[in-house]
């Protein structure tokens, strides 16, 4: 037992003496969460819009003013002909063109009908769709005003309630994801590098011949990083709550425990990676290339999993991050307790045990 | 052995912060000499050597190697010297032939020349069978000998060897020193550091560093007389203690 503690102490020394790495281990996640919390958002702001107005009458002017006044749009260009649209889209700054047909006001008065084309640059389909929807919403509001003296009969009035995130803040969507990604990458990377480093330098053999049991070596190597990651997780959670005003509707204790579980699973994954890598370079490349993009894209962090093709939905099930994101969102935003996330917790637990078990097995093989 | 001085060092000092690794050392080396640069482990010999080969800037003092100043003309020095580092420094993932070709090319040897020297070298070292094997697969002794030969590829005036025989068996050590004698005989000056005191006996002259300072500098014979010792090992012990 004393040997084991001595081993853990040595691991701690290694880490704390490497100042540069330490700075990165702590500083980076903080910098990143601050950056992302504020910068990553789907909401549109001041999108550049151009106007192609064939009528130039009072109504079109009113509509244009309403669009200008909206914080979502910034009207700063007026074009005269259809062929100009292609030119300004190619330049890349203007994202949409509003095309008012000729005799707009006249048509409205005579036929009660006029057409406005919302031409969007759909190379970014998401923004294009959002712009279309928002312009539409502004026009619907305007129409209501025009029609306020007319009562419309047989109207079904939908009353919509947005729950868990009434203000539709994208921060609620992204912060849990950013937390997860940072914890996962840092944990997996740290352990995979730490172990392959020993392999490359040759000190692994010393460990192998020591009286320490394989499980002890693995746990010993991982222990300091659990400690570091927990501190990281704490800092991230605190920042999320105080700076991004993320609510914690559910139990903080449960949140903490689940985080520890996730950290251990990520560390275990790191160890597994290290058992299949001969050099540090390989371990790092696998952690980063093999882990980073899939985690960002398949965990439900930015893109909804339910929208992906079925095979990808299946694959996303083996990514621990996916389950943790569900758990965090559940606890923080929905306020659920263990009875609602026990399934996901169990899965995470199972994965962790699997990773550790596989690593010990591979490690043992090396001994024989 | 003529008296042309190929290395001239005066008051050379290297400090890392408050710590003085090399403390105002002064000495000279003549052409064709085998000069042994001895000290206990970690006493500054590698640091001193790095300054002489131009990869470390001195804190103060002067040194001339192959006629060029280490401070202002380090790149010229490099054209005229060879170096074999303590940490084996050939590429493990290249073959014997590829390593030779690479370093030959870096030193500007023509392709013809590289081919010639390659053949000679491989034959002399008896590496025909492993010429196309990765260097990483070779036993340590062979690697060291190869490293030494590669450092001589471009016929440098001086060759610097940092603990060249660390970790090899006695027979290989003997073979190594035979190679060193041969090189010196052909006019190459050999500047070698070691902590094997028996190897000091093979050198023409020996300097001994203690705590960054040179405390003794002479032929092995004269040093043994001076310190009333039977062998260089005892000379060193007496110096280190006193």
């Amino acid at each position: 037992m004393k040997r084991f503690i001595g081993f853990i102490k040595k691991e701690f020394y290694h880490i704390f003496r490497d100042r540069r790495s330490l700075f990165i281990l702590f500083g980076m996640p903080i910098a990143q969460i601050l950056l992302f919390g504020f910068a990553i958002t789907n909401e549109i702001n001041n999108v550049d819009i151009a106007i192609l107005d064939h009528s130039k009458d009072a109504t079109t002017e009113e509509i244009i003013n309403k669009i200008s006044a909206s914080k979502y749009f910034s009207v700063n260009q007026f074009i005269e002909k259809e062929s100009d649209i292609e030119t300004i889209f190619k330049k890349g700054k203007v994202k949409a063109v509003l095309n008012f047909e000729k005799d707009f006001s006249k048509n409205l008065i005579k036929d009660h009908n006029a057409t406005l084309q919302i031409i969007t640059d759909a190379t970014d389909p998401n923004t294009a769709n959002t712009i279309s929807n928002f312009v539409n919403a502004i026009l619907t509001q305007y129409q209501k005003e025009l029609n306020k003296d007319i009562t419309i009969e047989y109207q079904i009035v939908p009353r919509t309630r947005m729950v868990y995130n009434p203000e539709l803040k994208s921060v609620y969507m992204f912060v849990p994801g950013v937390m997860t990604i940072i914890l996962m990458l840092v944990s997996a990377m740290m352990t995979s590098i730490s172990i392959t480093r020993e392999k490359e330098l040759g000190t692994m053999e010393i460990l192998l011949v020591s009286p320490l049991k394989p499980l002890q070596v693995i746990i010993g190597k991982v222990f300091p990083y659990i400690f570091l990651s927990i501190i990281n997780a704490l800092v991230i959670i605190v920042l999320s709550i105080f700076i991004f005003k993320m609510p914690v509707q559910g139990s903080l204790v449960l949140l903490g425990l689940e985080s520890i579980l996730f950290i251990i699973s990520a560390l275990a994954l790191g160890i597994l990676i290290s058992t299949i890598s001969a050099t540090q370079q390989t371990a790092m490349m696998i952690s980063l290339m093999g882990l980073m993009l899939p985690v960002i894209l398949l965990s439900g962090f930015i893109f909804p999993i339910s929208s992906m093709p079925i095979p990808l939905q299946v694959i996303s099930n083996i990514i621990p991050a996916k389950w943790f994101i569900i758990i965090i969102k559940g606890i923080m935003l929905k306020g659920v307790g263990l009875q609602y996330v026990w399934k996901e917790t169990l899965i995470l637990f199972g994965m962790t045990v699997f990773f550790i078990g596989l690593s010990v097995k591979k490690y043992k093989i090396r001994l024989e | 052995m003529n008296n042309e001085r190929v290395i001239q060092v005066e008051g050379l000092t290297k400090m890392f912060g408050d710590f003085t690794a090399v403390n105002a050392i002064t000495f000279e080396v003549n052409k064709g000499e085998i000069f042994g640069f001895l000290s206990a482990n970690g006493a500054g010999k590698t640091t001193a050597m790095k300054m002489l080969v131009g990869i470390s800037n001195p804190t103060s003092g002067k040194a001339n190697v192959a006629g060029f100043d280490v401070f202002t003309n380090a790149e010229e020095i490099k054209k005229n010297i060879g170096y074999m580092s303590q940490k084996f420094a050939l590429y493990d993932d290249l073959t014997v032939k590829e390593n030779i070709t690479f370093f030959g090319g870096i030193y500007g040897l023509s392709r013809k020349r590289i081919k010639e020297k390659s053949a000679i070298l491989i034959q002399e070292l008896g590496l025909e069978k492993v010429a196309n094997k990765l260097v990483g697969a070779l036993p340590l002794g062979w690697k060291q000998k190869l490293s030494f030969s590669v450092s001589l590829l471009h016929d440098p005036k001086i060759v610097f060897l940092d603990e060249p025989t660390g970790g090899v068996d006695p027979i290989t050590r003997r073979q190594f020193w035979e190679m060193i004698y041969k090189a010196a005989h052909q006019g190459t000056t050999v500047f070698v550091t070691t902590h094997y005191m028996d190897e000091a006996e093979y050198c023409d002259r020996v300097s001994i560093m203690v705590n960054g300072k040179i405390e003794a500098l002479d032929t092995p014979k004269k040093l043994k007389e001076q310190f009333k010792a039977d062998n260089m090992n005892d000379v060193f012990l007496k110096l280190a203690r006193g």
Partner: protein, 373 residues
């Protein structure tokens, strides 16, 4: 000059001999391109839908039928009570809940209007917005047909003023996300590979000691650096090429603009990335440190590149920061040239900034590389 060739030759040999790394450098990125491009979509599909029908009339059933028939909504569950529905939403089993109140049909006939309750899980605010649009569209269409079929809206009825909005989506009529994401993901992969390889490479030689051996030779540092980085530049361009082929053949992404222009821009872009990698390796002693620093910048650059979320949506200060993000320019150029056919003059701002970046970065990197310490 010949010396550079010797270094290039050695580097290529080492890269291709590293059996463990080869699949990671070549196969993995392209595999990711294929798989992950399918994942990246903001489309909202397969919405988990549930309803509480307290009315049980033909009207309410007809409305529910409309949702069942819609391709956007899936998993339609009938909840007998509000508690069960709320619990389901907490569990994540349902995201959109329709609450049809008592007397839905009767109120519509007698009072001429009624209420419909819609509850949407808004954790993903953007998706919630889209879901709301879908729901509203279905309800409005249903409402319109109801007026015509059931209630025979009389001619004397004054028609409301209607502004018809026609959305037109240029360059991507079907709002196909792949068209948008594939070039972006390709950019990422080219960047990550070249950055990590170049950043790690020199530090690796430092760690194992061969760098010292190189520094002792008379080789000029420019020769060494060019020789070292050239192979990675080639690899980067190679990945770009294969990636473009995959984009065209597998994803049918249109390549509207000039290929030579894309290659020209990429060749300069890769120089920037290599410069960054070299710069990092000059200031770190171990591969571990180099990796961490490279990772730090990569994650930031990726998430703030405008690839996943638009740059225009970011706060002012963040937008200024993106000026220093090389990936941002690459993503813009790729999309502009590939999808819109933008020309040389159109991408001149990005191109010149990238060239400037390349000069500064590589200049710094070469200057900070010291053969003598």
């Amino acid at each position: 000059m010949k010396i550079i060739l010797y270094i290039i030759q050695k580097e290529f040999k080492q890269i291709f001999r590293n059996k463990g790394m080869l699949p990671i450098i070549f196969v993995l990125p392209l595999l990711q391109l294929i798989i992950l491009s399918n994942a990246a979509t903001f489309e909202v599909k397969n919405i988990k839908f549930g309803y509480i029908d307290s009315d049980h009339t033909s009207t309410s059933r007809a409305l529910i039928e409309k949702f069942n028939a819609s391709t956007y909504f899936e998993v339609s569950t009938d909840f007998p009570s509000e508690q069960l529905a709320s619990a389901a939403m907490l569990k994540g089993e349902v995201d959109v809940l329709l609450e049809i109140p008592n007397y839905f049909e009767r109120d519509l006939q007698k009072e001429k209007h009624n209420n419909l309750g819609i509850t949407i899980n808004a954790i993903d605010g953007a998706a919630a917005g889209v879901e709301n649009v879908y729901v509203t569209q279905i309800v409005q269409r249903f409402n319109k047909n109801l007026k015509v079929d059931l209630f025979q809206v009389s001619d004397k009825q004054i028609q409301p003023i209607n502004i018809e909005t026609v959305p037109l989506f240029w360059y991507n009529e079907t709002l196909n996300y792949k068209t948008f994401m594939v070039p972006g993901i390709l950019v990422l992969l080219v960047t990550m590979i070249t950055l990590f390889l170049s950043g790690m490479n020199i530090v690796r030689e430092k760690e194992i000691g061969t760098l010292e051996q190189i520094n002792v030779t008379p080789i000029r540092k420019s020769q060494f650096i060019i020789g070292k980085l050239f192979p990675f530049w080639v690899i980067g361009m190679g990945i770009l090429t294969v990636g473009l082929i995959i984009a065209r053949v597998i994803f049918n992404v249109p390549i509207v603009g000039s290929l030579p222009l894309m290659y020209l821009y990429t060749s300069i872009y890769i120089l920037v990335i290599l410069g960054i990698g070299l710069f990092i390796s000059n200031f770190t002693d171990t591969q571990q440190q180099a990796m961490f620093i490279a990772w730090f910048f990569t994650v930031i650059f990726i998430l703030m590149s405008g690839l996943f979320t638009p740059i225009e949506s970011m706060p002012e200060w963040a937008q200024i920061l993106t000026e220093f993000n090389p990936i941002k320019y690459f993503v813009e150029v790729m999309r502009m040239v590939m999808l819109k056919g933008s020309g040389f003059m159109d991408i001149l701002p990005q191109l010149s900034k990238t060239i400037l970046y390349a000069f500064i970065m590589n200049g710094l990197a070469i200057w900070s590389y010291k053969k003598t310490n």
